[in-house]
Symmetry: D2
Subunit: 336 residues, 4 copies
């Protein structure tokens, strides 16, 4: 049994890590920290974990953990990570702190300096379908953003196959749980219910993240216009991506391209009609793509809290700890 800890256990990603890990065959939750709930049983504040996570929240983690998930907000994580790595613990950071490899890009998009340039440089982007071998070797993984996961998985095969131009438009739609657990005017039900709200058009932090990763895997300079919309649902992301072909390509070619990329992947499937309901509550991603004249429309659907956050982090942890990659994640989506 590998021993792990979670820093920031009361937020949505911390809770979702606990939900997944509490029935993981090879990993044991040794400790979860929470400033406001220290001393309380996890299952008393999050009653759905009753019988599964009955330990108490603590103020700090014990030593000698195999891996720590840092589930704190952007800007906080980079204060925790250096000491953890220094003590020999592997780290998966759930925030955006270690995703952009460049301190100046970080400052531009996150609004403050990065204080851990060294580990930022060494961190690996935790998308196993594209960076599996690097994840295996690193001690510090930057867990991908939810929108970024859906969008990159939907579009990377076309860029890698070199059949599309670098200019990509992404019209993404997310459930409200992506905004976290702190109440705010935009996530207030009477405001976002019975509507769809575009926000951060062209200025969302996942835009440079998507560009950075697509550039890395395709060796091209992708130029992404990213337009997120808030959906009146709790979980799920659908990313609708518009690309322009630079070669004559048929739908059969498209199918071959995606099957070559994902044919052996346990969690990514190429299907005719990607659907949020098919993947919700699972670590699966459904992708699809079709040609319309000189355009390709590509879709990616995930559960933003699982493949878009905590499930993907567990997938990375499995790889980093030498476990079976699918351990604890091997369940289908809800379907209905």
């Amino acid at each position: 049994m590998k021993k792990i800890g979670i820093i920031g256990g009361t937020g949505y990603t911390g809770g979702e890590l606990a939900r997944i890990l509490c029935v993981h065959p090879d990993i044991e939750i040794t400790a979860m920290t929470s400033r406001q709930s220290a001393g309380k049983k996890v299952s008393d504040t999050q009653t759905y974990l009753k019988g599964y996570v009955d330990i108490e929240y603590t103020n700090s983690l014990p030593n000698e953990l195999d891996l720590v998930f840092v589930a704190t907000p952007h800007g906080v994580a980079m204060n925790e990570v250096p000491a953890l790595l220094g003590s020999g613990t592997k780290v998966i950071d759930m925030s955006g702190d270690y995703r952009l490899h460049d301190t100046s890009a970080y400052k531009k998009w996150y609004g403050h300096d990065h204080t851990d340039a060294k580990n930022l440089k060494d961190s690996v982007y935790g998308l196993p379908e594209l960076f599996r071998s690097e994840i295996k070797k690193t001690n510090i993984v930057a867990n991908p953003g939810c929108y970024a996961t859906a969008t990159i998985l939907a579009t990377a095969p076309l860029l890698i196959a070199d059949v599309v131009k670098e200019e990509i438009t992404v019209d993404a739609k997310s459930g409200t749980s992506g905004a976290g657990m702190v109440p705010s005017p935009r996530i207030h039900h009477p405001f976002c219910g019975e509507s769809i709200i575009p926000y951060s058009v062209g200025s969302h932090r996942h835009q440079p993240e998507i560009e950075y990763v697509l550039n890395t895997v395709s060796k091209k300079c992708s130029d992404v216009l990213f337009v997120p919309h808030l959906l009146p649902i709790v979980r799920g992301i659908l990313s609708t991506c518009y690309l322009t072909l630079k070669k004559d390509v048929t739908n059969e070619d498209i199918t071959k391209i995606y099957n070559k990329q994902y044919g052996k992947e346990p969690f990514v499937h190429f299907v005719d009609e990607p659907s949020i309901r098919s993947v919700v509550c699972s670590n699966h991603c459904q992708v699809g793509a079709s040609v319309f004249n000189k355009k390709v429309v590509a879709f990616g659907a995930i559960d933003n809290l699982v493949k878009g956050a905590s499930g993907q982090a567990v997938q990375c942890a499995n790889i980093m700890l030498g476990l079976k990659e699918t351990a604890g994640l091997n369940v289908p989506g809800m379907g209905v």
Copy 2:
């Protein structure tokens, strides 16, 4: 043209008053106050009012208004009302400050002293279907609570007809706009979406309000158990009320009782299947009731912001100002 003012124009009930009154044939919005938005155009912060309410929010109201709607939170209204009444303006208070006629009941349910006992005693409960003649004569109306409106309209005819016992169980369901515009954990979309949340069971402030009004109209001592639930919809209340017959009564008798009570009412209809969608965005209320052995199940459906708040206030204002009672309110519900 009658001139009115709105104190507290940025909240949901203030905005809804503006939405209704801006096309009222005989009433003109002279001023709307707002502490945080004073100096801004109403239609700049609430863009749906563009072309309809293009005045600016002010810090205070001008003199010589015919009527003022006080749309501030509980506890604030009673600081505004005495001066308004003193200056000869008619007042409709949208909060709970003037609904319970007893300062000790007020203190018990609202948690602080009532500072305007005199006007509390004189205030009239603004439910025109039951207190029309009193509303006509008063200068101070306590606009009913949303749940209270749906529940009282659904049950009062049976109590007035003296066919049911005093013990009433009310299982009420409300859309989230009833909670107002300030974000909170319960109204956070990921918490209340895809769920139904019971809250304030047996301790909601509308429970004594319902009891007080039902006792007044039926001369009986009703004993209400009120159990509100938060629905994952924006607008609408359905109140499902359980009563026990004390006489042999058929469904035909029930129909007669409701038609006697509401047959000439413009806004309350007795129908087979009361439905939120049929009344949403209108001042209408649909009620229904059926006998099951010794029980009656009665339903009341309203739009919580219209008949449950601002529409009802306008209906009262029409009566108080000697206008046609239906003026500015004479539109059907959305249906779909």
Copy 3:
């Protein structure tokens, strides 16, 4: 009082016409036909119309109507229209039968021959903001599609101002009422609830309609890729449109372009954040647009049953009948 009739009064657009017209100051609903409900009172099957539309559904319309709304499915309307026009009645067809001016285009997109080529040629596209003078003179209006209305209003100013290329990508999102009242697997709540469903990608009938109208107003050959998505809400459309600049244009220029086009329009407003909730239950459309490098993202938000169907039809009827264009439509959206 102008006398109108509605053919097909039980569907969503027929019901919505009744909801709007029953309080219209200058128009009277003389008759509504329905095959399945003939002989029943309208307000018995659609209880939200109680007290507003208490006439009975009939099998056919009387003579001597000023105007008839044909609210039947595609393919049915063209069987009704010739006789109506022949008898001197003005006609507004709510279906797609008279929108594409070309019988071969009609056959390609609707799958069967058009049997009324003559009136097809004479029909006017009922979007007053672009075809007001033509609507005034015609006897036959093709009421625009819901998606088409939101998309054309959002993008036409940029094409007319000649600042964008002809290639347009439209990512549109619609509430479920757009699908009409007949149950189907896609509109089954457990399928479409808590999800967003792309459908008819690149093959929706509004794609050629949008292209046809944009080409007409801009004299350019627009090439539209139209990707509709089904939202888990009842009413409302948001159309997110992606265009490419062909000139250096700033956000200030954009604002001027839209204000020049719509500054005097009663129902179309250019705002920073177009929102479905701001227009729902009203004939209003909110549009917005911003520049991102060489791209423009333009939004259009409407209530699909009002400005996207029955409200727009009433607006056209007002124009055709010489009434005030805003008569019966002059109410703001719900806001909340």
Copy 4:
């Protein structure tokens, strides 16, 4: 590995059985039948099962199965069960065919004769928390109704402890997936979205089922008024139950009563605030209860497709097959 079959694999309960069983450690899905989809891969029609259930639907089941789940509509199951039992296979019927032990009650509530009186008499009601030992010994289990499960688990402890009167009012709320996968006017999204729809008031088939079971476990003649409401959510039931105390009982007594009943149950937890989100996508049930004067309000929350259908059936199968009762079901609810 135990071998099981599913008759009627394309419906919601059949699909949910497959979703759960495909990762069950001790059970193997040997065959799934479907009339319309025979010959197709399960994971081609239900893509969320890709990689999990890649067998083909068949027309009939093979012999030598350990257990068969009959997931066909009411009235169909009783044609399948006798032969299955005759061949020595254990059977769990998901429909209502074997729940009411009395052929005359069956005829009254289901509208047609029961053709398998013998097995009806022998069948065991598959609620393990109340009938565990009987389930262990039987070959035919009637899987409980979804509403019945939530309601019985919420109220049975009070009746067994003999602290409440026999008269019970149940105000139940269910997500739309409870209605199955066939489209219908009531489950059409524009009708049931943004609303809550009461239906089958006092005439729902789960009313006699609840009465029958409560009478069986408490030896009293419970008299239930059951009022179901359709919620605009996909999954989840909340049953709000109103009972009257016949003894002086405190909230502490209530807690003891429930803990005595469920303290050792793996899937039923007594909590302060039972919540649908806490149990969704799991076999868990949360119950709660509080005293208000002489009344008790008791809540039960489940996922209607898991503890309310397929999860409970798997729990019963585990018991019938001598497996660990929690096998394949040991995961917490989603929480968010």
